[in-house]
């Protein structure tokens, strides 16, 4: 099936009324959830995963994807208006968006963010469409060693890019893998670390995600969030539109951001959050007025927004074609696909063309919907966010508890959420980043499976990871990612020490 007819099939599927409605619901839900602080795409998808059991695979993927990029925009809304990033990828948005809002121009910031998001999505989508076919054909060369090496590289890549100590990030990742191994071993049926009977099926991912990110965020936000005052907001249309000069400065940061986002999205192990940080850093570095960053520079808002949408779309490339998720949210989507009986991999395009191309076309439709919906809704969003935090967090807790409980009808999962909430708070206090742990949790069993298989096939010969060409590339990449930052940091410190000594 050639590209054009595939796209036609996709558009026909995406624009079908039922699917359109699910895209709309997904985008709206995603936005609402993304706006709530501490509750992001991860939580939204975890909460709504059980709902998708009642829908067919195409509809559930369309809705989940809509939730995904809808929540990124929702996160930006909260980020711009309240400086409470709703999602990890919206953290960067508040650097420039919040000052802009404080200067009385929140509508401008919101509009620039939504158009930048659409721009990034279109670029990412083009790359997805152009690259998905060749990439999936290429993926057929992947055997167990290649997958193992790729997963390893992705996991290391994800942990080193987070802020702070690389050592701790890797330790968190290892801990996450170990937690993922809790339960029944697939090959032998033996129980591993099963302290209570319900854990025989493993620790619930939803419970871990909600506890680690949602509950721990609530722990830290109570008290501080309610002390914040109200912002003076003007709702006149003229104040909601960017100036002509700002539009003129749109294209270059938008394109740079989209390029960075697409690169990070395609690589497994990196995602929208990292892409947005890198895009912001790049804008700041090449700007003629870097000192103005932090006071409401549009470039610093446009580039990250464009990149995080490009990353979220191209993040589907490794997920759909290789079956390897780019970040924790993608991993949940992967889980959703598998639950629905679709095993992502190189054959997904030929086995389920309607699903594949329908989902891709719905990305475009969904993102356009996002911009169209938000133009009139900007005023509403601004007003919605004046709900005081004391009313917000009990509702969030309610959804978290019920969502986690109903996933497996298990009370143990609610206890798990609590434990991970406490753990998450403690870990962030000790500067241990929680995100690599979640990634390790999701990808760990996969790593073990491929490692086991590789060793079985090659009689325990560990050098196979370096003798097979593709696998060698990934292993070298993993080593570089692991050792390059500390080595270059050491060299830099050595050099400055030598300079200060000679000065």
């Amino acid at each position: 099936m050639d590209l054009l007819s595939s796209l036609q099939l996709g558009l026909a599927t995406a624009l079908a009324p039922e699917n359109l409605i699910y895209a709309l619901i997904g985008v709206l839900l995603g936005q609402i959830v993304g706006v709530l602080p501490g509750v992001g795409a991860l939580t939204a998808i975890s909460l709504l995963l059980p709902v998708t059991f009642y829908l067919d695979p195409t509809q559930s993927m369309i809705m989940l994807a809509g939730i995904y990029y809808g929540s990124q925009y929702g996160g930006s809304i909260a980020s711009i208006l309240l400086r409470l990033p709703g999602t990890p990828s919206s953290v960067v948005t508040c650097f420039e968006g919040y000052p802009m809002a404080q200067q009385g121009r929140p509508g401008v910031a919101l509009l620039l963010a939504s158009v930048a998001s659409l721009f990034g999505s279109v670029v990412g989508l083009t790359i997805l469409i152009a690259g998905a076919l060749p990439l999936s054909r290429f993926a057929l060369n992947f055997g167990a060693p290649e997958y193992c090496a790729l997963v390893l590289m992705g996991m290391i890549g994800a942990s080193i890019v987070s802020n702070g100590s690389q050592l701790r990030a890797i330790a968190m990742m290892v801990l996450g893998i170990l937690l993922g191994l809790v339960g029944t071993d697939i090959n032998s049926g033996a129980y591993r670390f099963v302290v209570v009977d319900e854990l025989a099926d493993g620790i619930s991912l939803v419970a871990v995600a909600m506890g680690l990110f949602g509950v721990s965020e609530i722990f830290s936000s109570i008290g501080t969030a309610s002390r914040r005052g109200k912002i003076p907001l003007s709702l006149k249309l003229r104040d909601l539109m960017p100036t002509r000069d700002e539009w003129r400065r749109f294209l270059k940061p938008g394109s740079r951001g989209a390029a960075i986002g697409s690169a990070f999205g395609t690589l497994p192990g990196t995602g929208a959050a990292i892409a947005s940080f890198v895009a912001y850093a790049m804008e700041k570095r090449i700007s003629r007025h870097p000192e103005k960053f932090g006071t409401g520079q549009p470039e610093g808002l446009i580039a990250p927004e464009s990149s995080n949408n490009a990353a979220s779309i191209t993040g589907f490339i490794p997920t759909l074609t290789l079956g390897i998720p780019g970040d924790a949210v993608m991993a949940l989507m992967l889980g959703a696909l598998i639950i629905n009986g679709i095993v992502p991999g190189p054959t997904v395009m030929t086995d389920h063309p309607t699903l594949f191309w329908g989902v891709i076309a719905s990305f475009l439709v969904g993102n356009v919907l996002l911009v169209l919906i938000n133009l009139p809704l900007i005023k509403l969003w601004v007003r919605f966010l004046s709900i005081p935090y004391w009313a917000l967090y009990p509702g969030v807790l309610l959804f978290v508890s019920i969502g986690v409980y109903s996933f497996r009808n298990s009370v143990v999962d609610v206890y798990t959420t609590l434990i991970f909430g406490l753990l998450g708070t403690m870990l962030s206090r000790l500067s241990f980043p929680p995100a690599p742990m979640l990634l390790g949790f999701i990808l760990g069993p996969m790593l073990e499976e491929y490692l086991r298989r590789s060793m079985l096939l090659y009689d325990g010969d560990l050098t196979v990871f370096f003798t097979r060409p593709l696998s060698a590339v990934f292993m070298v990449g993993a080593c570089l990612l692991l050792f390059l930052p500390p080595i270059s940091g050491w060299i830099r410190r050595h050099r400055t020490a030598r300079q200060t000594r000679s000065a």
Binding site: L175, R192, S221, G223, T224, G395, L397, Y405, V411, L430
Partner: protein, 172 residues
């Protein structure tokens, strides 16, 4: 890129009186904590995994991977103990721990977990939300009661009537 999220109080609590090195006794003790905990956790995991069938490298048993990972964690803990960041970082630049919130929210979730099977969804929501709202200071007893009732009703409508959750609303 200075970012202080949401007006958090950055002048946090500091430890005891500082000594000649300028860092308090408590700070120095806490510096060993991350590495030490990592070693402890890694060690216990490896010990537990030793009890499972390890198998060989070409035919890995259930214990192999956890055992290796436990050892890796111990190694990382050792590296953490020696790394510069472990020592220098425990500063007092930290917002104070909101113990009240932690206790209230924890008890809220515990109550929910305990009540949902024994008493039903609605009591679980009501007690859970009420306990959670006690973490806000000043405590507003009456409005918390009202809001809990509102959310309970909301939960009933959305989850039992709307989504048809297979859980009993009340215990009778």
């Amino acid at each position: 890129m200075e970012l202080s999220l949401g007006g958090r109080d950055m002048a946090g609590a500091s430890g005891k009186r500082s000594g000649a090195t300028g860092r308090s006794w408590r700070c120095r003790m806490l510096g060993w904590l991350p590495g030490g905990v990592m070693m402890l956790v890694g060690g216990s995991i490896a010990a537990t995994a030793w009890g499972y069938d390890l198998g060989s490298i070409d035919n890995m048993g259930p214990g192999f991977f956890p055992f290796v990972l436990g050892l890796v964690l111990v190694g990382l803990g050792v590296a953490e103990l020696f790394s510069a960041s472990g020592k220098a970082e425990v500063s007092s630049e930290r917002p104070p721990v909101n113990w009240r919130a932690i206790c209230c929210i924890s008890s809220s979730l515990l109550a929910f977990a305990l009540l949902i099977n024994s008493a039903g969804l609605l009591p679980a929501i009501f007690i859970g939300v009420y306990l959670a709202m006690l973490s806000e200071r000043p405590v507003r007893w009456i409005s918390a009661l009202l809001y809990s009732s509102a959310l309970t009703a909301f939960g009933y409508v959305v989850f039992i009537l709307g989504l048809g959750l297979p859980v009993s609303a009340v215990w009778w």
